[in-house]
């Protein structure tokens, strides 16, 4: 390819004739290089993963064996929303407590994880109490429009939640043994979407398991 022109060494300013002879092009055929370039390009495009996985953070209560039952259950029954997650992507929900000693067991309502299922129920129930959902949504909108900054928004929501703590919805998510991991993530997701401030991930009680079994037979 590249040739050294040693002719000039003599200093002789020989004529054009010599230069003309060297006119053979110095250009190289770039096509294989392009091929190589695109081959590598394809390889890197295919091996790159763009979408990083997301994560939802969940904080579980500290396990304390000394915690007594009377310390728990301080939430008024009419605000306690129990969600029983079970097989076939079905959710049953009821208010209050399922304890045979406290009288008749509450009736189960059946719903799904869709937009018109669980979310509708949660938003309706939320709205029946303090209009937490609507207010928080309004603030969210203000943040988007730039009227409110993120920190202000957070403090506002926090104060608001504190203020109405006892009269807002408390959701207990209770998957049974047939529930899938997806169901739990979906349920937790609904908590975020519906602005439910207080929720907990618990295990279903034997009474509730029985209720689910009954419901699977009777509720259509």
């Amino acid at each position: 390819m590249a040739e050294l022109n040693t002719d000039d060494g003599g200093g002789g300013k020989k004529k054009h004739g010599k230069r003309r002879a060297k006119k053979s092009s110095t250009r190289i055929d770039m096509t294989p290089m392009v091929d190589l370039g695109f081959l590598l390009l394809t390889f890197f495009i295919l091996t790159t993963t763009f979408n990083k996985p997301q994560a939802m953070e969940i904080s579980m209560p500290v396990k304390d064996d000394n915690l007594k039952l009377e310390d728990a259950n301080k939430v008024p029954a009419e605000h306690t929303f129990n969600m029983l997650l079970t097989k076939n992507n079905v959710v049953y929900w009821y208010f209050g407590m399922a304890d045979p000693n406290l009288g008749a067991l509450p009736a189960l309502n059946k719903t799904s994880y869709s937009k018109d299922g669980l979310r509708k129920v949660l938003i309706t129930e939320n709205n029946k109490r303090h209009n937490l959902y609507a207010q928080i949504e309004a603030w969210k909108k203000e943040v988007e429009e730039g009227k409110l900054n993120k920190d202000e928004y957070k403090t506002k929501v926090k104060e608001y939640r504190e203020k109405f703590k006892i009269s807002t919805l408390v959701v207990l998510i209770k998957p049974d043994k047939d529930a899938k991991y997806k169901n739990i993530v979906d349920a937790l997701d609904e908590m975020a979407i519906c602005n439910v401030g207080t929720y907990a991930l618990l295990e279903s009680t034997p009474v509730e398991d029985q209720m689910i079994a009954n419901a699977n037979t009777y509720v259509k």
Partner: protein
């Protein structure tokens, strides 16, 4: 030969190609192949999971449990600790192999053989294996992995990566193990979902 040669100057094209190659080389990161195939559920959460300083428990659709922790040094140390506990001596080659691996899901007794095997054999072993034992009554190897990971890397974020169809009791068991080790705050790894729609 016609006077106007049909060949075009390829130089700008080469420039472009190599520019893009450089770009993709710089942004892509290679990671070791995961032992588990996991189809994660999606959520609206937009919290990004970091690539480093992470301890992860994976549960696949057959409820097999896998473990992963980032950082070569940490991995080697964790393996040494586990070796001490289960009286298994790992040689340097195995330690190196382990530090370069991603997640794994074999019990301690077959870990040594797993580390010696090549990648095809490993896949087979992984398929046959029951995953890391999480028994409540018998041996809970996952408890020890999590414990040692926690001791050696206390600042690491803890995450659970489960498959959509993983059964709840298994996830609960993993959560309980984490809680027993005083890890009350952890992440559930999910895929991104577009908007709060269905």
């Amino acid at each position: 030969m016609p006077k106007n040669s049909p060949s075009i100057d390829m130089t700008p094209m080469v420039d472009l190609a190599f520019l893009l190659v450089t770009f993709f080389m710089l942004i892509s990161q290679f990671r070791a192949e995961e032992a588990a195939v996991i189809d994660m559920p999606s959520s609206v959460s937009d919290l990004k999971i970091p690539d480093k300083d992470l301890m992860m428990v994976l549960v696949d659709k057959e409820d097999k449990v896998y473990f992963n922790i980032t950082g070569q040094e940490t991995r080697t140390k964790v393996l040494e600790k586990m070796g001490e506990k289960y009286s298994i001596v790992f040689n340097d080659k195995q330690k190196k192999e382990f530090s370069n691996m991603a997640s794994f899901g074999v019990p301690m007794k077959s870990l040594s053989a797993y580390l010696n095997a090549n990648s095809t054999e490993r896949k087979k072993m992984q398929e046959k294996s029951e995953g890391i034992p999480t028994d409540t009554t018998g041996v809970c190897e996952l408890c020890d992995w999590v414990y040692n990971g926690r001791i050696l890397a206390p600042r690491f974020r803890v995450a659970i990566k489960g498959d959509q169809t993983t059964s709840y009791p298994k996830i609960r068991r993993v959560m309980d193990i984490l809680q027993d080790k005083k890890i009350n705050r952890f992440n559930l790894i999910t895929n991104m979902e577009v908007g709060p729609g269905e």
